[in-house]
C-alpha cells in the first residue's frame, strides 16, 4: 500500500446540459501505484477525460477526494495546488494544447519557467535547456526544436506535449488518448516512447480506447456507467 502515489476516492462529477444533469462520474475509486503503467479504458464519452483531469487537479469534482501521498489536492490552498501541478503532474492532453506563439523548445521549457523567478531562471537556463534538448532527443524530435507547433504533424505535436509533461520530472504522467488522433504507426511510436519512459521508472496513467495499447499496460481499469469496473 505504501507505494500508492495517487488515490482517488468516491469521485463524482455531474455536468448540467441545460436543465438535464449528466452524471459522468458516480463514485470512482482509483489507486495509482509507483512505477506502474495504468490504462483507463471505456466507451467514447464515458468520462475518461473528465476523470483524468480530476486526477491531474485540473478540474474540480463535485464530490470525493484525490490524494497525492495522502494530501487532498482539492483541500489545499490554490497556491500550493499550482505548485503541485507544476512539479508533480505531467499532463498530456488529448488535443496537445501547445502554446502556438512558442517554438518546440520553448514549449518544453515552459514548465520550468513557470516554476521559477527571473533570477532563478537565468541561473538554471543552461541546464534546463540541455535537459529539454535531451528529452526532445528521446522522443525523437531533436531536429525540430525551433519549429512552431503549427509546423508539426499531429504525432510530433503529441511527442512535444509528452516532452513538456516530462520536463519537470513529474511524479506521474497523465496522458489522455495520446494516440487517439494518430495512425497506427505513429501511435505505436508514441506507445513505445511511453513504454520506455515507464521502464525508466515513470508512473503513467494512460487513457485509451485502443485495446492494443491497453494490452501493453501493466494494469487496466475500465470506466462503465461512471464507475470503475475492474
Amino acid at each position: 500500500m505504501s507505494n500508492v502515489l495517487l488515490r482517488a476516492q468516491d469521485v463524482h462529477k455531474t455536468y448540467l446540459l441545460g436543465k438535464v444533469p449528466l452524471r459522468v462520474l458516480r463514485g470512482v475509486n482509483v489507486d495509482v501505484r509507483a512505477g506502474e503503467l495504468l490504462a483507463v479504458t471505456g466507451a467514447s464519452g464515458c468520462g475518461k477525460s473528465t476523470l483524468l483531469h480530476i486526477l491531474g487537479a485540473l478540474d474540480l469534482p463535485d464530490k470525493g477526494s484525490v490524494r497525492y501521498d495522502g494530501q487532498d489536492v482539492f483541500r489545499m490552498s490554490a497556491a500550493r495546488r499550482d505548485g503541485v501541478r507544476n512539479r508533480e503532474v505531467g499532463f498530456v492532453f488529448q488535443f496537445y494544447h501547445l502554446l502556438p506563439e512558442l517554438n518546440v523548445l520553448e514549449n518544453v521549457l515552459m514548465p520550468q519557467m513557470v516554476g521559477m523567478g527571473v533570477f532563478a531562471w537565468s541561473g538554471r537556463r543552461r541546464d534546463a535547456r540541455a535537459r529539454a534538448e535531451d528529452i526532445l532527443t528521446r522522443v525523437g524530435l531533436s531536429e525540430r526544436i525551433f519549429h512552431r507547433p503549427n509546423e508539426l504533424s499531429g504525432g510530433e505535436r503529441q511527442r512535444v506535449a509528452i516532452a513538456r509533461a516530462m520536463m519537470n520530472e513529474p511524479r506521474f504522467l497523465l496522458a489522455d488518448e495520446p494516440t487517439g488522433n494518430l495512425d497506427a504507426k505513429m501511435g505505436q511510436g508514441i506507445l513505445e516512447c511511453l513504454r520506455s519512459l515507464n521502464e525508466n521508472g515513470q508512473t503513467i496513467v494512460l487513457v485509451t480506447h485502443d485495446p492494443n495499447i491497453a494490452a501493453a499496460a501493466d494494469r487496466r481499469i475500465q470506466l462503465v456507467d461512471g464507475r470503475i469496473e475492474a
Binding site: D59, H97, L99, M110, M113, V118
Partner: protein, 566 residues
Amino acid sequence: MYKLFLTLRYLRRKWIAVFAMLSVWLCVAMVLIVFSVMDGFLENIKQHSRGLLSDIIVDVGTLQGFPYYDDFTKYMHEQLPDVVESVSPVIYNYAILRVKTGRAENITKPVRVVGIDLAGYASVNTFHDSLYYDKYYPGTTTFAPAPMPIAGLKLPPGTPEMPATTNAFADSAEYALPDPYPQAFARFKADHPDDPIVKNPKRPSVHSPDGVGYFENNFGQPGYEGKPLPGLIVGMDVIYSRKEDGEYERAMVRGEEIVLTMLPMTRKGTLAEDPVPLAMRLADESRTRVYQIDEICVYADFKLIQHMLSMDALQRVDGTMTKPRATQLLVRIRDGLDARVAKARIEKLWEEFCMGVFYDIPPQKYRALTDAERAQLRRGAREGWLTTVDPEDAILMSAVGVETWEDRQRGFIDAVEKEKVLVTILFLIISVVAVVLIGVIFHMIVMQKTRDIGIIKSLGATRWGVASIFLSYGAAVGIVGGILGVVCGSIFVYYINDIQDLLAHLNPNLRVWSPEVYTFDRIPNEVKPMAALVVFVAAVGTSMLGAAWPAIKAARVWPVQALRYE
C-alpha cells in the same frame, strides 16, 4: 519568468497589440489636445482680464467720470498702505479716428479712447507688454509731443560722407526713428525678417507715393519735420487687418499722423462744445491679443484727453474751479492679498471719503453713526441736496462702485466657466469612450488567449502570474501608446496655429478659430507638463486595468474550463 517571456512574445506576435497601442496613442493625443487648448483658453482669459484691467477697479460707469479721484488716490495711499501698491486714473471715451496716409488708406472709424498715464498704467497692469515698438526700442514710446522724425538732407556737421549706394535715400526726405538704436533694429530685423519695414526700409510719404521710410539711422542724428504732435498708441486691429498667417499687414510707421475727433462732455453728460479734432502722432501699436480690445482701443495721454474732454479743472462764473474728473481708478493691490478683502476695504474707505467731502464728517464720526443715519446721508448725496460740495459732483461720486477684476468680467467669466463645465463633461465622455475602447480591445486579446491561459495554468501558473502577464502587456501598450500620444499631442498643440493657417490656406472655411468669437487671436498652444503627466499616467493605468480585469477573470477558472473555451 514565464510572465516576462510570454508578455514579450505576445507583444511581438500579435497585431492586435499594435492596434491597442494605436488607440491609446490617439486617445492620449486627443485628450491632451482638447485639454490643453481649453485650459489655455481659460488661463488666457483670466490672465488677460486681470492683466488688462487691474486687481481692483474704482469705476463710475458713466462717461462724465467722477471728481476727487486724485484726492482719493492720495487718501488711499495714506489710509491703506498695506493694501494699495499703486493706483492709476483712466478716462474712457469715444472718438472718430481718421488716418489718411499711404497704404493705410482712408481709415475713418469709431474708437474707444483710453486716457492713461503711461507709467502709472504700466504699474497696475500688463498693458506695457503689448506695445510693438517699445519691445524693440525700449523706452522710446512716449505720449509727449514730438515732431515727425526724418533722416533728412541736412546732415549734422562731421557726419562721414554717405556711401554712394545709399545716396538715393538722401534725395527724398527719409524717416528714421528719433534716436539711433542700431542694436534694437538689428534685433527687430532678426525677429521680423518679413516685416515691410525690414524688407523695404521706406515708408509711404507725400514725396514719393511708393514710399520711402528709413528706420535705421545711418546718418548720425535724425532730423524732424513738422509741428510736434502728441503721441497715440493704437490697437493693432484698429488700423491693420490680420493676414491669413495671423500676422498683420502693417501699413503705417511710427510717427505718422492720425486725427482723433473727440466729444467733450459736461458733468451732466451733455455736449460741452463742438467736437474737437486733434492731430496726433502714431507713437506705438498695442497688441494685447484680446481681439475685442485691440479692435477698438486707442490710448493717449491722460492729461491731454482730460483736457480735450473738458474734464480738467474749469473756471466757474463765480471764479471758483471745478474738480478734474476721471472715469476709473485702477488699483494694484499688494502681492498675496485677496482681491475681495482689498475690495471691501477700499469700498469702505471710499464711502468714508465721500462723506468727508460731502458733509465734512471725519471717518471716526461717520463710523459711529447708526445704519439709518448713514443711509440718510448717502441718500442726500445721491439726490444732490448738499451744502459743502457741488451737487453734480456728489451725484457722480455716489455712482462710483468698487469692483475686483473678477466682478468686472463676471459675465464673461461665468460664460467661460459654463463652457468649461461643458467641455469637462465632453472630456469625461471622451475618456469613458477611450477606457471602454481599451477595455474591449484587451478583452478581445485575453479571450483569444483563454486557451493559452488554460495551458499555462495546467502547467502550474498561479492566478496572479497569469494576470500579471496581461498586466505587463497592458502596461507596455499603455506606456508606448502614452508616450507616442503625449509627444504627438504636444507637437500638434505646439504647432496648432500653423496647422490652422495651413488649413485656412487650403480652404478659408477651414479656419475654425476666429478671434471675433474666441477673443484671442491665436489658439492657446501650451501643454502643461502636469497635464501631460496626468494624461499619461491615466493612459497607462487604464490600459493596465483594461487588461487586468479580463485576465483576472480568465485566470480564476479551473484550467480545464479555460482549455475548453472556443
